[in-house]
Structures are given as structure tokens and as C-alpha cells.
């Protein structure tokens, strides 16, 4: 016993020291970002040694700095300091001083300023007689090496003049100084990305990002492990447990990894959204800088599409597809695991730039010619890493795509024929087929972009004959199928949920399948409607306009089929049913607002306004996200063996549904009035009212997701226990235990007819008998 307790103590010490290291790492991380934000003290002590009045609100402005310098050229710089609170001495003596440093180049006094400024210790400063003013002109001669970036530091001191006539010791009281910093790249540094990127100091950025990520993640993992089994909490158990998750190839465990990952990034993406909604709440706001705004909405878009929506779909696909088709696992388990890890590591690259304040600012569409431009006026340095991350995402989706398509094509159990396959499986199959065939265009597009940014190709550089519109074609050839890739699985979920909740088979199963496949085919020939204003061939514009409108037909078929399913069934209102019904409302509205864009004339007005934002958020939040929420409530019992709390679920649904409409509905109005998207602020005061309302709704919607988070965590331990089939579902995933064993089936099951199932369990709805001709038993 004594030995046992000693062991326990040792383990405690180990874990506590581990946590200690993690906290230290967390605390140290902010120091590792590559841009120091404080005043450079080394310069400060030499430059402002006799002016230690203290840092303050003094403004330092330097005019005449070029965007990039040419070697050997002289530039005239006007340095002005101002501080309305410090007037300066009466006799206009002793008003201020400055100290200017540059990492290269030489200084000299400006014309008429030879007696007023002096070169000192590699920089330049005012002379004794030069401190009677607050504005100086100096000349900076650029160095010959154009391949570098020169950093400037200016300390400016606003002096109140109380040193005149007093003893020097009092001289600094009431003076306030501050610092201005700038960087000017050489002309050659603009040409090649390699040189410019040094600015971000890759090693420091990498260490910061990796430390931060690992520390935060380890903390979370240790906590989850502790919660799982508080008694078996020791280091050996922890490493074994971690190893299990890091090496797992089981479809259910990989699905769980996908789910946790996507949920985490759903919350992160939501935080970005709330931050820039605060910025947009009122006109002329300056809560975020332009650069922050640009990088935040870029990461919001990319996070939500690639790191939240698609992984969440992959999570359910991983969990449910093998169960629904009666397979023991996916076709290629190791490839499947690799798909997840590629995704997980790509997020590090996507977020790489944020740690250095140089986050990608190229929007999720990454339009050339901005995204391939380098230098001061180009996209920020983190963009290169971001593009690399997108390439990795492409690899990840290709790997998971081949897996799902192969699984559905080759591993269906007896009875699960193509025309009896559950609609969720059909939707995942069509979505993955679309993703799989369109993704190469994105990969090639981003590889071109990546090479433009790194090794000096000129695919998108119009200055040498490159073609920025090529990017738009390659991106949207992927991008439009992509929006169906994220919406089709939601269709599948809603089909499953509605038919189970209505206690009948889905209405018009065959037409549902053909509609899915039809969308799958049409999705490839509509991409041009994103580019109607890009100046492409008018004939092509017409074709794309017509094909886009065609998409409404299969989508309409699906909506009417869902309505007919409700009509013929006896509906049970569970939380997942509510989400599916909410989906029907909001998705239909989103679909209708979408029909404005293919009309080239209308699109010219609506292009890049908030009307577009309203449309695609109605489709992506009201469609995809609502569908995924429905799936969470529907399949959580299957994965965990306990139901989610229905009361919390109802609360979550009501708040989110109202707040979602409150957030995105007013955007239609703003868009029609012409409010442009992707601008960090606006000056039209009449837009403030609606925008404030949107911001409030967005915050409510964001915080409402904490209810779901709490519900998921709480129900894991305390939820109501449930058996194989808590909702009365028909497909094969409900024939195995909750949670299912590994491998998921010991004996391959045989799927029965869905109508027979529902007739047996409920006695069958009137329409079920009428349309299918099945007699109740």
C-alpha cells in the first residue's frame, strides 16, 4: 500500500509538472510573435537619454517615405510631432525633439536645416538650436542593396519647455514622447517572395505557433482524459490513451476526431465573425484595423467552409456511412486517417500568419491579382502559408473522397442496392464525387498561386501577360461544386430526420435520388455565375445564366418531396425534427434569394454587396449548419449511447433560429441599398441602425452555441440512456448497438424494406399506404 501511494504521488508530481510546463509555455507564447510592439529600448536610451519624461499620447508623423526605395536615391523625409496637450514654451524655445534610426542607408540634414539637425551614432537627431520646433526635414540616402527591407524607428518628444530657466532635473517633467516605426522594402525585395518573407522571421513564428497550439491542445486533452476516467488518471494511461487516438484507423474514432476538430473550429470561426460584427456595428468604427478586419473575415470564411463545415460532414460520413451500408469499416482505413491528419495539420499553416500579425487577407476566394502580389501593397506575408494550407486541404479532401466513393461503391451489404440506399449515404456519395472531381482544379489553381508567390512564376501576373481571370475560372470550377458539397449532406440528413420523425418512408425516394444526381451533374456547369461581372465572353455569360437557373428544378423537387413527406406522416417533434423543419424554412429562403444572381443584369447590381452575404449565409447557416445540428441531435445517441437533453436542445433551437434570421435577413436590405461586402467600415449613417441590430443578433447567435457545447459535454456523462433505435429509424445504423462495436458489424446485416419497417412499427401513415400500396400487417 505504501508503495502504491508513493507511485500515486510520483504520478501526481509528473502531471503537475506537465501542467506547469504547459502554463509557462502559454504565458511565454505572446513574447514570441515576430513583431515587437514596445518601444525599442536600445535606441530609446541613446536617443532619448535626456528626455525621460515618459511615453505618452504624442503623435509622430513622417511624410515622404517611399513605398519602396531605389538604391542610392535620396529621399526627403518630413518629421512632424504634435501633442495638443503640451503647448511648449512661450518664447517658442524648447518645443520638441526627435531621434531617427534606420537599419541601413545614410542620413543628412535637409535643405535649410543644416544647423537644426545633426547625424549622431548612425541615426539623426535635432541640435541644441533644433529643439525650438516640432517639424524637421532630413534626407535619407538609400543603400545600394535593394534586396532588403529597411526598418525605421522615430522617437518624437513633445516638450513643454519648463527646462528653460529651471534646473535641468525638472526639465523632463510633463514631456511626453512616443515612437513611430515603418519598414521600406527595396525595389528588388518586391520581386521575389523569398526575401520579403524574412520579415516575418519564420523560426520565431513557427515556434510561437507550435508552442501555443501544442500547449492549448495538450491542456484540453489532459482534461478530457481526466474526465473520462478520474480514477485511472496517470501519465502511463495518458500516453496510451493519446497513442490510441493518434494511431487510430477505426472509422468511428476518426469520425470523433473529425467532429471534435470541426466543432472547435466552428467556435473559432464564430469568434472571428463576432469580432468583425462588432467592428461593423456602427458607421466609421475603428474597433479593428483594416488589416485585422481583412485577415479576420478571410479566416472566418476559410475556417467555416474548410475547417468547420467539411470536417463536420466528414465526421458524420465517417461515423454513419459504414453503419448505414452495413460495412465493417471504410474501404481504406489508413488513407482515411491520413485524410484527417492532413486536415488537422493544414490548420496550422492556415493560421500561421496570424501569429505574426500578418494573417492572410485574400478572402476565402483568394482572388488574383491581389493574392499573388507581393510587397507592401500586396497581400500580407502570411498569405504564402495560407495558400500552402489550402494545398494541404486539397490533399486531405482527395484522400477522404477516394475513400468514401470506394466504400459506397464496393462495400454495400445485401439489400442495400443503389435504389434502396439511405438518402444520407446517397448525399455523401454525390457530394464526394463532386468534390473529388472538382478539387483538382483548386489544387492546380493554388499550386500556380503558390509558385507565383514563392518561385517567381507569373501565371496570374497581368503585367507580363498572365491571366488573373484564369484563377477565377479554376477557383470557381471547384468553388461552385464545393457549395453543393457542403449543402448536399445536409439534404441527406434532413431526408433521414424527416422520414424518421414523420414515421414513414421518404416521399418520392427515386426522384430524391435523381434530384441529388441532377444537382451533382449541373453543379459542374454553373461556375461562371460567380464571374458575371469579370468581363468574360458574353456568350459564356448567357450559358452560365441558363444552367444556373436549371439548378432550381432538382432543388425544388427535393423541397416539395420533404413537404409531402410531412403531409403523409404523423410527425414527432424531437429537437432534430425542429432543426430539420427550420432548415426547410431558411434554406428555401436562401434558395430563392439565390435565384437573383444568375440574372446577369441583376447580378451587376448585387455583386459584392451584402445581398450576396445574406444569400449564402441563409444557405450555409440556415442550410448546412442547421442540417448538421439536426444530425448532431439525431446521431449523438448512436455514437454515445445517451440522448442529448431535449430541453436544452429546444432552447438552443429557438434562440439560434430567431437570432439567425435577425442576423442575416436585414443584410438583404443593406445589400439592395448598396452596402459593399469585404469593407472594414462604412460612412453611411443610415446603415448603422440595421447593422447594430445585425451585430446584436450575431452575438446572441454566437453565444447560443455555448448551450449546444454544454449539452454535448453534459449529456456525455448524464444524458438519458437509450437503446439501439431511440427514434424509430429504419436504416442499418439503428440495427447495431449504441455505441457500435469494433468492427462495427460482426455479421454483415441485410437491409429490409423501409416501408415494411415503418408499417410494422407504427401501423403506417395513410399516405404511406396510399402511395406505396403497402398493406399494414
Amino acid at each position: 500500500m505504501v508503495k502504491g501511494s508513493e507511485l500515486m504521488n510520483k504520478n501526481k508530481i509528473r502531471v503537475i509538472s506537465l501542467l506547469f510546463v504547459i502554463f509557462i509555455a502559454l504565458a511565454a507564447t505572446p513574447q514570441m510573435t515576430s513583431y515587437p510592439t514596445g518601444v525599442n529600448r536600445a535606441n530609446g536610451t541613446t536617443g532619448c537619454a535626456c528626455h525621460s519624461g515618459g511615453a505618452g499620447t504624442t503623435t509622430v508623423i513622417v511624410d515622404g517615405m517611399p513605398d519602396s526605395f531605389v538604391g542610392g536615391t535620396s529621399y526627403e523625409l518630413n518629421i512632424t510631432i504634435s501633442n495638443p496637450n503640451i503647448a511648449g514654451a512661450e518664447l517658442s524655445s524648447n518645443m520638441g525633439g526627435f531621434r531617427l534610426f534606420a537599419t541601413d542607408g545614410t542620413f543628412s540634414a535637409g535643405e535649410n536645416y543644416t544647423d537644426l539637425v545633426q547625424v549622431m551614432d548612425g541615426g539623426i537627431t535635432h541640435t541644441e538650436s533644433g529643439n525650438d520646433m516640432r517639424s524637421w526635414v532630413v534626407v535619407w540616402t538609400a543603400p545600394d542593396n535593394e534586396g532588403q527591407i529597411v526598418d525605421f524607428t522615430v522617437h518624437g518628444n513633445a516638450v513643454n519647455g519648463n527646462a528653460v530657466g529651471n534646473i535641468p532635473a525638472d526639465g523632463n517633467s510633463g514631456d511626453k514622447w512616443s515612437t513611430f516605426q515603418a519598414s521600406i522594402p527595396g525595389a528588388a525585395a518586391l520581386g521575389g517572395g523569398a526575401i520579403l518573407i524574412e520579415q516575418a522571421e519564420p523560426y520565431e513564428v513557427a515556434i510561437a505557433a507550435i508552442t501555443f497550439g501544442i500547449a492549448l491542445f495538450s491542456l484540453m486533452l489532459v482534461y478530457v482524459f481526466y474526465r473520462n476516467n478520474p480514477d485511472g488518471f496517470n501519465l502511463n494511461g495518458l500516453t496510451e490513451w493519446l497513442k490510441k487516438w493518434m494511431t487510430t484507423t477505426d472509422h468511428k474514432e476518426v469520425g470523433t476526431l473529425y467532429f471534435v476538430f470541426s466543432f472547435l473550429f466552428l467556435l473559432i470561426g464564430g469568434i472571428f465573425a463576432m469580432l468583425f460584427r462588432l467592428q461593423l456595428a456602427v458607421a466609421d468604427n475603428d474597433f479593428l484595423t483594416q488589416d485585422q478586419y481583412n485577415s479576420f473575415f478571410t479566416l472566418h470564411g476559410t475556417t467555416m467552409i474548410f475547417l468547420a463545415a467539411m470536417p463536420m460532414i466528414a465526421a458524420f460520413a465517417n461515423w454513419i456511412i459504414p453503419l448505414q451500408i452495413g460495412a465493417k469499416d471504410l474501404a481504406f482505413p489508413r488513407v482515411n486517417a491520413m485524410g484527417f491528419w492532413m486536415l488537422a495539420f493544414s490548420s496550422v499553416l492556415l493560421y500561421g500568419g496570424v501569429m505574426s500579425g500578418e494573417g492572410a487577407d485574400i478572402t476565402w476566394t483568394m482572388y488574383a491579382p491581389f493574392s499573388n502580389s507581393l510587397g507592401e501593397k500586396g497581400a500580407s506575408a502570411g498569405t504564402t502559408l495560407f495558400v500552402a494550407g489550402i494545398i494541404m486541404l486539397g490533399i486531405s479532401s482527395t484522400l477522404s473522397g477516394v475513400n468514401f466513393i470506394a466504400t459506397v461503391m464496393t462495400m454495400r451489404a445485401p439489400g442495400v442496392t443503389w435504389m434502396k440506399m439511405p438518402l444520407f449515404t446517397w448525399s455523401i456519395f454525390v457530394a464526394n464525387a463532386m468534390l473529388y472531381l472538382s478539387l483538382p482544379a483548386l489544387i492546380i489553381g493554388t499550386v500556380y498561386l503558390y509558385f507565383d508567390r514563392t518561385i517567381g512564376t507569373h501565371f496570374y501576373d497581368a503585367a507580363v501577360g498572365g491571366d488573373p481571370i484564369l484563377w477565377a475560372h479554376l477557383f470557381w470550377y471547384f468553388g461552385h461544386p464545393e457549395v453543393y458539397v457542403v449543402i448536399l449532406p445536409a439534404f441527406g440528413v434532413v431526408s433521414e430526420v424527416l422520414s424518421t420523425s414523420a414515421k414513414r418512408s421518404i416521399f418520392g425516394y427515386k426522384s430524391m435520388v435523381y434530384a441529388l444526381a441532377g444537382i451533382g451533374v449541373l453543379g459542374f456547369i454553373v461556375w461562371g455565375h460567380h464571374m458575371l461581372t469579370s468581363g468574360m465572353d458574353p456568350t459564356f455569360r448567357l450559358i452560365m445564366m441558363l444552367t444556373t437557373m436549371l439548378v432550381a428544378i432538382p432543388t425544388g423537387v427535393k423541397i416539395f418531396n420533404w413537404l409531402a413527406t410531412l403531409w403523409g406522416g404523423s410527425l414527432v417533434f424531437k429537437t432534430h425534427t425542429l432543426w430539420a423543419l427550420g432548415f426547410l424554412v431558411t434554406f428555401t429562403m436562401g434558395g430563392i434569394s439565390g435565384m437573383f444572381f444568375p440574372v446577369a443584369g441583376l447580378d451587376t447590381h448585387f455583386h459584392d454587396t451584402y445581398f450576396v452575404v445574406a444569400h449564402f449565409h441563409y444557405v450555409l447557416v440556415g442550410g448546412t449548419l442547421f442540417g448538421m445540428f439536426s444530425a448532431i441531435y439525431y446521431w449523438y445517441p448512436k455514437a454515445v449511447g445517451r440522448k442529448l437533453d431535449e430541453k436544452l436542445g429546444l432552447l438552443h433551437f429557438i434562440i439560434t433560429f430567431i437570432a439567425m434570421n435577425g442576423t442575416f435577413w436585414p443584410m438583404h436590405q443593406l445589400g439592395i441599398e448598396g452596402m459593399p461586402r469585404r469593407y472594414h467600415t462604412y460612412s453611411v449613417d443610415s446603415w448603422s441602425e440595421l447593422n447594430s441590430f445585425i451585430t446584436m443578433s450575431a452575438l446572441i447567435m454566437g453565444f447560443a452555441q455555448l448551450i449546444l457545447t454544454w449539452n454535448i459535454i453534459r449529456s456525455y456523462k448524464y444524458g438519458e440512456k437509450c437503446g439501439k433505435d431511440p427514434w424509430g429509424g429504419w436504416s442499418l445504423e439503428w440495427t447495431t448497438t449504441s455505441p457500435p462495436p469494433t468492427p462495427s458489424f460482426h455479421e454483415i446485416p441485410t437491409q429490409e424494406d423501409d416501408n415494411l419497417h415503418h408499417v410494422e412499427s407504427t401501423g403506417g401513415g395513410m399516405f404511406s399506404r396510399m402511395w406505396k400500396g403497402v398493406e399494414p400487417k
Binding site: A331, V348, M392, L437, I444, T457, A463, D467, Y477
Partner: protein, 333 residues
């Protein structure tokens, strides 16, 4: 229905996915930051992941021969699932090279600007600047040669000066039209030669892979003879593939140094990135082939598992086929 005993052992965890993914991330990070060191580390980690993957198949004691998963139902009923997987993978590869190709043809045919030229031609007709009887299409044909080279002087005449020098130039007055690789390559037999040899080398290597497969599947052969045959045919494939890469690098070197044809032009960007991507596919094939040869050397192949050579062969044939399309489009056209 049952898949046999193989699958009932439960799941074997594998470190390979996470290691290979980490390697990919480090590789891309290093490349982005132009740091050769980090890039190399990433590549090493990536290859470590790959070897971890292959190590799962070792030690060739027969445990991997217990049978592959078979497909069930339409459309691949009875086929090995891995074979369906490789065909699906090739579908993605077709789209990859399709994208390279589409982008290249767009550049070569002025597809992005041809309608503006037609527009200008119509304008010239409407304002009677063009010769009487000319149509927009006939003017268009006069403006571009068969190889889509702008005929600047003829075009200016045909449109009565409406489409002049400036139409063909971008803002910084760089000519829109740039010399493409084919012009240099076809100009000189010695430049064309490596490409021509490469074409035959790849086709021949596709044949030797099939011979290796045939030898591995031959149950009548003495195991020792069979192993030697398989190894030699695979080694022949490796040599031909290596020859391809060496000649390609020599040819790039020649184009860059003797003709000053670099990636900093638009045509050069397309040429080097597309042929380079194909070269990477060949290189990846060679990495796999090295492992296959090692496996043949220690007697790992027989008729039970020879289908792996077949799947590899499908990939290799595809790489070959892609070259058969790239060669005329980039070297001759």
C-alpha cells in the same frame, strides 16, 4: 456474407498517417519560408511516414496474403476493393492533368481575349474601317496565325488601324505573345532529342512493368527464377524512369541556359510547372518502385499478391499516357 477472417482481427493502429501529414506540413512550411533546411526536414519526415506505412506490410511472411477485401454489388462486384480505389484515384489524376491542360490551352489559344478581338473586328466593319466584304471571322483569322501568334501588322491593316500595336500589349508594354517552349525545341534537333527519347523510354517502361506482373503471376516458374525475373523487370522500369528524369533535367538546363527560357515568362511558367508536375509523378512512381524491387529481391512477390504490381502498373501507365499528351502539346505544338 463475410469478408473472411482477415478483417475480424480488429483494427491495427498506424503511426504512418500522422507522421506523413506532419512531414507534409513541415515541408510546405519550409518551402513557403524559402528555408531549404526546414523543407528537407519535412521531406525526411514525410518519407519516414511512408516507410512506416510500408513497414506494416513487412515481413512478407504470408500474413498479408490472407486475401484482399472483395467488392460487393454493382458496379465493381467481385473486383478487389483496392483496384476500384486505384481507378478512382486515377480519375482524380485525370482531372489534375485536365486542369493543367485547360489552363495551358486557354493561354495558347487566346481564349480569354478572342471575343474582344471579334468585338473590335465588328467595330471596324461597322465604322467602315475594314475592307469591304470582310467579316469579323475573316479579320480574326488575319489577326492570328495558325499557332495563334498575333500578326500585328496584318491585323492593323485588316481593321483599318483599330487593332494596333497597343492592343497586343499589356500595361507595362510587355508583348502579350511570348515565345513558347515548342519554338525552341522544334528549332533544333538536339533539343528535341531528349524529349523524343523520353517518350519511348516511358512507353517501354510501361511494357516492362507488365512483364514483371506476368512473371510474378506465373505459377509454373521456380520461385527463385520468378523472383529474379520480377526483380530484373522492375529494375529495368526503374532505370528507364531514371533515364527519363535525367534527360528531362538536362533538357531544362539546356532551355534555361542556351535559350534563356525561364519560368519568369508566362509560357515558361506553364511549361516548367506542367512538365515538372509530370516529373514529380514519375519520381513518386520511382520511389514506390524502389520499395517493390526490394520486396522482389527478398522474394516477396508471388501469384497471391502480384495484383499490387498491377495496381502500380495502372498508375505507371497513366503517367505514361499523360506524357503522350503533354509531349505533342508542349514540345511540338
Amino acid at each position: 456474407m463475410s469478408y473472411g477472417d482477415h478483417d475480424d482481427h480488429g483494427h491495427h493502429g498506424s503511426w504512418a498517417p500522422i507522421i506523413a501529414s506532419l512531414g507534409t506540413m513541415i515541408f510546405l512550411y519550409g518551402f513557403s519560408e524559402a528555408s531549404m533546411g526546414i523543407t528537407a526536414i519535412g521531406l525526411v519526415v514525410l518519407i519516414w511516414g511512408l516507410f512506416t506505412w510500408w513497414k506494416g506490410d513487412l515481413p512478407f511472411d504470408g500474413s498479408e496474403k490472407m486475401g484482399e477485401l472483395k467488392s460487393y454489388g454493382t458496379p465493381f462486384g467481385g473486383m478487389n476493393i483496392r483496384k476500384a480505389g486505384i481507378w478512382l484515384f486515377l480519375m482524380s489524376e485525370v482531372m489534375i492533368f485536365g486542369s493543367f491542360f485547360g489552363a495551358y490551352m486557354r493561354m495558347r489559344t487566346n481564349w480569354n481575349t478572342h471575343w474582344t478581338l471579334l468585338d473590335k473586328a465588328q467595330e471596324a466593319i461597322d465604322s467602315s474601317l475594314a475592307a469591304p466584304g470582310a467579316t469579323a471571322k475573316s479579320i480574326y483569322k488575319e489577326c492570328l496565325s495558325e499557332k495563334h501568334t498575333p500578326m500585328i501588322t496584318q491585323c492593323e491593316e485588316a481593321t483599318g488601324g483599330l487593332v494596333n500595336q497597343t492592343f497586343w500589349h499589356t500595361e507595362s508594354s510587355t508583348p502579350v505573345y511570348q515565345h513558347v517552349a515548342a519554338e525552341y525545341i522544334t528549332a533544333d534537333f538536339m533539343t528535341l532529342l531528349p524529349g523524343a527519347i523520353n517518350t519511348f523510354a516511358l512507353i517501354l517502361s510501361s511494357f516492362t512493368v507488365v512483364l514483371a506482373l506476368k512473371a510474378a503471376k506465373n505459377v509454373d516458374l521456380d520461385p527463385k527464377v520468378r523472383d529474379k525475373k520480377v526483380r530484373n523487370y522492375l529494375a529495368m522500369t526503374l532505370m528507364l524512369g531514371t533515364l527519363f528524369l535525367i534527360l528531362k533535367l538536362w533538357e531544362w538546363n539546356h532551355l534555361i541556359h542556351d535559350y534563356d527560357f525561364t519560368i519568369s515568362t508566362l509560357a515558361g511558367s506553364f511549361f516548367y510547372v506542367t512538365t515538372g508536375a509530370h516529373g514529380v509523378h514519375v519520381f513518386v512512381g520511382l520511389v514506390f518502385l524502389t520499395y517493390f524491387i526490394y520486396k522482389a529481391h527478398i522474394g516477396g512477390w508471388d501469384h497471391n499478391n502480384a495484383q499490387s504490381i498491377e495496381y502500380y502498373g495502372l498508375y505507371w501507365h497513366f503517367v505514361d499516357l499523360a506524357w503522350v499528351i503533354i509531349f505533342p502539346a508542349f514540345y511540338l505544338y
